[in-house]
Symmetry: C2
Subunit: 201 residues, 2 copies
């Protein structure tokens, strides 16, 4: 059995975008199976006393983060980093849609949303944009969007976010190995993959 990593991400999170753009091939090469788990960071930040992204609350840190994102996007060969306005985006709709899709369709949808948000600077809370992305990937946009209004799906996202808290997650992206080891941040992706292999091979 391949070892597994749970990849926890929030659609509003800049560094989750970087991780989502590179985790697929890295996990493949490492022989690690991925579970893509979107959740909402907002309730967790609120419980820490934050009503927004730390990059908005602390402007000096925020300006640095933009520059850091520009440099890292360039190093990864991604399009020029172009943050959306408003930032942080409301990621509720995108997260519900991601959970409404079958597991195997989630990575591609996730990458497309992030690219619209952080390369094209678009607002992912816009239902029309999400519909456009779904259609572009060959999904029945109306059917998927209709699912996001159902109580079962709303509950699913709520449960996932509660599970993130239970796993001691406080930021995104986060990676958790099968033995419960938590790694926070795009910078820890390689280390998380190594840990998963070492503990499972």
């Amino acid at each position: 059995m391949k070892p597994r990593i749970d990849f926890w991400y929030d659609f509003a999170s800049t560094y989750s975008y970087l991780a989502a753009s590179r985790i697929g091939p890295l996990a493949e090469a490492a022989g690690v199976k991925l579970a893509w788990r979107p959740f909402l960071l907002g309730p967790i930040f609120k419980s820490q006393g934050w009503d927004s992204s730390p990059f908005s609350i602390y402007p000096v840190k925020g300006r640095y983060a933009w520059r850091d994102m520009e440099r890292l996007a360039a190093r990864l060969g991604l399009p020029k980093f172009s943050p959306p306005n408003p930032f942080p985006a409301n990621s509720l709709l995108a997260a519900r849609v991601a959970l409404a899709l079958p597991d195997e369709a989630r990575p591609e949808f996730t990458r497309a949303v992030y690219r619209a948000e952080f390369a094209d600077g678009r607002d992912i809370a816009d239902r029309a944009l999400i519909a456009e992305i779904l259609r572009g990937l060959g999904h029945d946009a109306e059917a998927v969007l209709a699912m996001t209004g159902e109580p079962a799906l709303k509950d699913k996202l709520r449960t996932e976010t509660e599970e993130a808290v239970r796993c001691r997650i406080f930021g995104a992206p986060s990676f958790i190995t099968e033995d419960g080891e938590l790694f926070w941040g795009n910078d820890r992706l390689e280390q998380a993959l190594e840990w998963a292999r070492g503990k499972n091979s």
Copy 2:
């Protein structure tokens, strides 16, 4: 002329300890000259509304940071991470002593203080400990400690901390290249060295 990096660190900072333990050989190999610049993060945190380390203010993040430090110390071949009590330490005395020493003596003193603090778990606000470290490195402990009470030296540390703010520093460790590019965190050390080489060679 060799390119130069300013290495800004606070003696209370866990991740500055990691950077200090490895920056010397890495900079040497990269052909980059280092300026070791201790400063105080406390006034900067205060201006952000924090009266302590974020690892103390946000316990879930703090517990993660300890585990992260344990893993990283092991990877770097450092002694078992053993945080001091109280944490964060008061780093004022150590910073003044570091500035009182000649430039060429500062790296060795810095590493010795960090090791006492994060490997032996000792309190670096203790004057007797700092004297012991100075003597162990062959310095005249009484003479150096006497300097730390002088207005000129107090002013020097205050000026350095103001300079850190002016450079848009909000955390430690931070690395700044000669063209003013800021890199934050032990995880960005390699990138900072690459930047310094690319822009100056």
